[in-house]
């Protein structure tokens, strides 16, 4: 029974991971940027939710649009005025640049909210229901459903909306897209804003089920990377499945192995995948290995 319990908890956690992975893969797929500030953006979203909840008593679920908006603006401005100057030039530079942004966000959050570990309590925080002997917390189920809905919404947006088509066209060939009238710097900025907004929303959801501190972002960045590699870049269903897979793996290890190795799972898994199968399990294409 413990096994099923760990499995279910892992699946529920995986929904949130999938959402983080989607935001991360959007930037990677469109601009070939590995956003090292991704985790810190998620944590910043969590702090937005925290502040709204503490000061105004807003339910963390309802803070979602706020944290998404704040992060969208941040992402748009950052890309438009800073990252656009080095994008497509050299991966050294974008890695360093986003790490610099990461450090500034961590510093900002530490100064604003102190280094204390925070969490949000709601009236439904402790409640759970029984499903055939498995306890399911209401909060976790809620976060799972919302995260999956957001992931699918993002997918639909990219697939069917006008902006989404412009983003995908730019991803395929920026020059051709610009010839056809797409404002590429703007589309890049919107893409970053969108990715940041999803990260912010993921932060709001994170705040419901997890405790967080200014420095907890790095682990999320790496996990997002694992999920995207495992699921294959540009494959939504792959990302959702691998998010859930990672959640389950982590939960099984912390339930039956050593809780201290919980985070080590994702990193070990990442190395293993990169060595054995760099295209991921559902990957369509990969930049990973230079030789065919």
């Amino acid at each position: 029974m413990l096994f099923v319990q760990a499995l279910v908890t892992g699946v529920l956690l995986g929904g949130l991971y999938a959402l983080m992975g989607m935001a991360f893969s959007l930037l990677w797929g469109v601009m070939n940027i590995i956003n090292l500030a991704h985790g810190s953006m998620i944590v910043t979203g969590a702090y937005v939710a925290f502040v709204l909840n503490q000061r105004l008593g807003i339910d963390p679920v309802l803070t979602l649009p706020f944290s998404a908006t704040v992060l969208f603006v941040f992402g748009y401005v950052l890309q438009r005025h800073v990252i656009n100057r080095v994008v497509q030039r050299n991966i050294f530079l974008t890695l360093l640049l986003t790490f610099g942004v990461d450090m500034m966000l961590i510093n900002f959050n530490t100064v604003m909210f102190t280094a204390d570990v925070r969490s949000i309590n709601t009236w439904y925080s402790g409640s759970s229901f029984d499903l055939g002997g498995v306890r399911i917390a209401h909060t976790r189920l809620l976060v799972f459903v919302l995260a999956l809905l957001l992931t699918l919404a993002l997918h639909q947006f990219l697939k069917n909306s006008r902006t989404g088509r412009a983003i995908r066209a730019t991803a395929q060939d920026p020059k051709a897209a610009s010839v056809l009238g797409v404002n590429v710097p703007h589309v890049y900025a919107v893409t970053f804003g969108l990715s940041a907004a999803i990260a912010g929303a993921a932060g709001s959801l994170l705040a419901i089920v997890y405790a967080f501190a200014p420095g907890s972002g790095a682990a999320f960045t790496l996990k997002s990377f694992v999920i995207v590699i495992l699921g294959g870049l540009g494959n939504v269903y792959g990302v959702v499945l691998s998010g859930i897979f990672l959640g389950v793996c982590e939960n099984l290890v912390s339930s039956f192995g050593h809780p201290g190795y919980r985070d080590a799972v994702s990193f070990g898994l990442l190395l293993l995948i990169l060595v054995l199968r760099p295209t991921g399990f559902f990957g369509k294409r990969s930049y990973a290995v230079s030789r065919a």
Binding site: I34, L93, G100, M103, A218, G268, V289
Partner: protein, 339 residues
């Protein structure tokens, strides 16, 4: 089109014997200047107090780390973002050996062996990965080893390890570490020069510029990349070992800190990638600035470091050394396009 070395120097100049008589006046002047600076650094400790000894030791340490990163990232073009993993492994090697009564030198030998061994073992599978994938693979390696060290009892877990203090007064031990780290910086410069002026380094540059072509030319790319990474790992591990003895305490968050790797990264990029003295120059400028300026900012120093990283990336992506060379035409080299 003439085949070019990444710096833009025609590859032919490599064949010329390096005779002092052939050197340009600028080159001679720079060499004399560097030798003089070396002598000053050699005799400076007699006149320095513990504070400045410490500042300079820190600069030497980062200069070595930046040069180590330069070997794999600057010359071979593989962004080993998580190279700090070898710093941590080196530090823990020395700590675990010394805590069991071994000497510092034995610890250093263990650190070198372990780091080079790991790089040799993991090099062939990991160095197949390009770009982001390799960068993140090294970061994952660092986090993985950090977690393992954090949970093992041999390494003291999250409590860390305390190493016996070095003998002598604080001033004497400060001088010892000054010379140890000066020595490691010297080794780092030698390694950089070896890469700049050897076939191995040239091959590494060829891999950076076009790996497929390099392989088609008959270069054994995997072996070359692995050698570059092992040299980088060995140097980083040795410096980590010295650091452990110097601070006489290691714990996972400090020695596996990504910020160490990123600082080294910024330094070699700021000074000039794939040059012999660029990383050293970068380390001197940035570490000095960080000591003097950012120590006054206290709670904002992480953010200030982040901001300066962003500014350097935006305004000086080709590095200080090339910036100066362009201005003063110090080198005969014309600048090739930077990747």
């Amino acid at each position: 089109m003439q085949s070019r070395e990444p710096d833009g120097v025609p590859a032919v100049t490599h064949r010329k014997p390096m005779l002092v008589a052939n050197w340009s006046p600028q080159r001679l002047a720079v060499t004399v200047l560097l030798a003089a600076l070396g002598l000053v650094l050699l005799f400076a400790p007699a006149y320095l107090g513990t504070y400045w000894l410490r500042v300079f030791s820190m600069i030497f340490m980062y200069a070595s780390l930046a040069q180590a990163l330069n070997l794999i990232a600057g010359f071979a073009g593989y962004p080993a973002f998580g190279n700090v993993v070898f710093f941590g492994i080196g530090a823990y090697s020395v700590a675990t050996v010394m805590i069991r009564g071994g000497s510092f030198l034995l610890g250093l030998a263990v650190a070198l062996t372990v780091c080079i061994g790991i790089a040799l073992m993991l090099g062939p599978p990991l160095l197949r990965l390009r770009g982001h994938y390799f960068a993140i693979a090294t970061v994952a390696l660092n986090e993985l080893i950090k977690q393992i060290v954090n949970n093992l009892t041999v390494t003291g877990g999250g409590m860390g390890l305390s190493i016996p203090l070095p003998p002598g007064t604080p001033l004497e031990s400060a001088r010892t570490f000054y010379y140890l780290l000066l020595g490691s910086m010297f080794v780092a410069i030698l390694l950089g020069a070896l890469f700049k002026y050897s076939r191995l380094g040239l091959a590494a540059c060829a891999i950076r510029d076009d790996e497929v072509k390099a392989e088609a030319m008959g270069l054994r790319t995997t072996a070359i990349k692995t050698m570059a990474w092992s040299a980088s790992a060995g140097l980083t591990g040795a410096v980590g070992g010295i650091y452990a003895y110097w601070f006489s305490y290691v714990d996972p968050p400090t020695v596996f800190d990504m910020v160490i790797a990123v600082k080294a990264y910024v330094m070699f990029l700021f000074g000039g990638a794939a040059t012999v003295f660029g990383p050293i120059l970068g380390a001197f400028v940035i570490e000095y600035a960080s000591t003097v300026l950012w120590s006054n900012l206290l709670e904002y120093h992480v953010g200030a470091l982040g901001l300066s990283i962003i500014l350097i990336v935006l305004y000086m992506p080709d590095g200080l050394l090339r910036f100066f060379r362009q201005r003063f035409k110090l080198a005969t080299a014309k600048l090739g396009p930077q990747r």
